[in-house]
């Protein structure tokens, strides 16, 4: 579904990503794990079109999207929940969700999508008229995911959905992601929480210093000695 072929990314003169290739197949949960500063967020930003790769190719459902602007990528069905949610704090919960369905393809189904999001996150339904800035950390993350779901994506990218959440909420968050996936949505997950995300993912890539250093079935990677010693010790 999504295929990244040896991309390189520069921030001004500084190279952040070297020769990264990865694939996400239909229906999968793929995790991209690695330490802070490895370049995980950068890869999601490149896929979303927020920055341009200087080499390599990104294709989504057979279409080359390497140099397509961000808003058109959303239109194609590729949505991202950015790091720490980036919800519109000055707007109501409902307005945030409506903006999720901004693209023409999603706008016509927006009441159905809204009902679905409220079913997944009943909390959001309770707070629909509240200003998003008044939500708790967990609720904000729900809103960010709900907002992305409103665009009816075919592939959803999540950047650190567990960041800053209490342990009990983290578990709940991963459960929700599994549920969304079982309903047929393909997922690319970026996480620092290696244990939980490798348990959840069908496949995973390990990223260090801007390069892919390992790849495998999620649970297999979990048993790798290097992974165990580096992340789970």
């Amino acid at each position: 579904m999504l295929s990244i072929d040896t991309i390189a990314v520069f921030y001004k003169e500084l190279q952040a990503i070297w020769d990264v290739s990865l694939d996400v197949n239909d229906g999968e949960i793929v995790a991209l794990v690695g330490p802070n500063g490895a370049g995980k967020t950068t890869i999601l930003r490149v896929i979303s079109g927020l920055i341009q790769p200087s080499a390599g190719k990104i294709s989504f459902q057979g279409q080359n999207i390497s140099h397509v602007p961000p808003h058109k990528i959303v239109e194609l069905g590729l949505s991202q929940v950015p790091e720490s949610g980036k919800i519109f704090t000055g707007m109501s919960v409902l307005e945030n969700l409506e903006l999720g369905a901004y693209v023409a393809r999603a706008r016509k189904d927006r009441s159905a999508s809204l009902a679905r999001v409220f079913e997944i996150f009943p909390r959001l339904a309770e707070r629909r008229n509240q200003l998003a800035g008044t939500l708790s950390g967990g609720e904000r993350q729900m809103l960010a995911i709900g907002r992305a779901l409103m665009s009816e994506p075919r592939l959803l990218m999540l950047d650190e959905p567990s960041f800053g959440l209490a342990p009990i909420l983290v578990e709940h968050m991963f459960e929700t992601i599994r549920k969304i996936n079982q309903q047929g949505l393909t997922i690319l997950l970026v996480e620092q929480n290696v244990q939980a995300s490798l348990e959840l993912a069908h496949r995973a890539y390990l990223l260090e210093n801007g390069r892919i250093v390992g790849e495998g079935k999620g649970k297999e990677l979990l048993s790798f000695e290097s992974v165990r010693s580096a992340y789970l010790a």
């Binding site: 979303s48 980036k86 519109f88 665009s151």
Partner: protein
């Protein structure tokens, strides 16, 4: 004494609504794009000339020329943004404000001299048949033209608020202001949002221009004075608050008329400028703005 004062106050409020409208376009552009278009006064002037032309050549009622002036200025705004201002949009905030300010100064020089070429340096005004009509209540005179202008200003401010609050496009604009990156992840084409906001801001200047030429007069050198009024009101009202901007306009209008009444009408503009400098130094977030992070 008292009647003179209340008459003065009423005129201050009536003209203040026009100041609020003049600032609304500038504030809209600055709030969304962080471009400081100091050629705003020249856009107001062009709106005034559009009304003047339509009135004197086609004999259209000045208030009915408003859609025309809006459309003309919307298009001018779109062209100016695409040709000039879009080239500074990707700079970091501080140099964006500075470069847009400089570019807009160059633009104001150009527009002012173009106006000289097209319309000469003469002062122009429009005087419809009902120009002298006025009502009197509680011994205070309300000229019809000024009352109508007040209503127009109020209608546009409410319409803008409703547009930003309730339409999908308005929400997209607000989302872009709050976080352009997240907005583009919603599928919003932020460059279109910038273009649209700039054009709407210019269109609002067009409306203000028709009211200026109907209530007062216009001439090619008027730009800087009106840019300053709009800047003063924008700073008084604080950014991003439509009611704040309207009230800022009323404060400037009343300040000016009080200065005329108590001191001397030659100093009315000075009073506004002094207020402006004081607010800049002591309360840069504006009288009604809140400190943003």
């Amino acid at each position: 004494m008292f009647e003179g004062l209340s008459q003065n106050l009423v005129f201050g409020i009536l003209v203040g609504s026009l100041y609020g409208l003049a600032a609304m376009g500038l504030s809209m552009i600055f709030g969304v794009t962080k471009l400081l278009n100091v050629a705003h006064g020249e856009l107001i002037m062009f709106g005034g000339y559009a009304c003047f032309w339509a009135f004197s050549l086609l004999d259209i009622d000045p208030f009915l020329t408003i859609p025309l002036a809006m459309l003309a200025l919307f298009l001018i705004g779109a062209v100016l943004y695409s040709l000039i201002f879009s080239r500074t949009i990707k700079l970091p905030d501080e140099s964006k404000v500075k470069n847009s300010l400089l570019v807009a100064f160059g633009l104001s020089v150009i527009l002012q001299n173009l106006a000289l070429r097209f319309w000469t340096a003469d002062e122009r005004g429009v005087t419809p048949a009902y120009y002298q009509t006025s009502f009197t209540a509680l011994e205070v005179r309300f000229p019809l033209v000024r009352l109508a202008s007040f209503a127009v200003a109020l209608i546009f401010l409410i319409a803008l608020r409703l547009f930003l609050k309730n339409t999908y496009t308005g929400k997209a604009i607000r989302a872009t202001v709050q976080n352009w990156e997240a907005a583009s992840l919603m599928g919003i084409d932020i460059h279109k949002v910038y273009l649209l906001s700039f054009s709407i801001g210019a269109a609002l200047a067009g409306v203000a221009g028709t009211l200026v030429v109907t209530n007062y007069s216009i001439q090619p050198a008027m730009g800087l004075g009106w840019t300053m009024k709009a800047l003063i009101v924008m700073v008084l009202g604080g950014l991003g608050s439509i009611p704040g901007t309207f009230i800022g306009g009323l404060i400037l209008g009343v300040t000016e008329s009080a200065t005329s009444f108590f001191i001397n009408s030659n100093y009315r503009e000075v009073a506004g400028l002094i207020l402006f400098v004081l607010v800049l130094i002591f309360r840069p977030q504006g009288l009604f703005g809140t400190k943003e992070s």
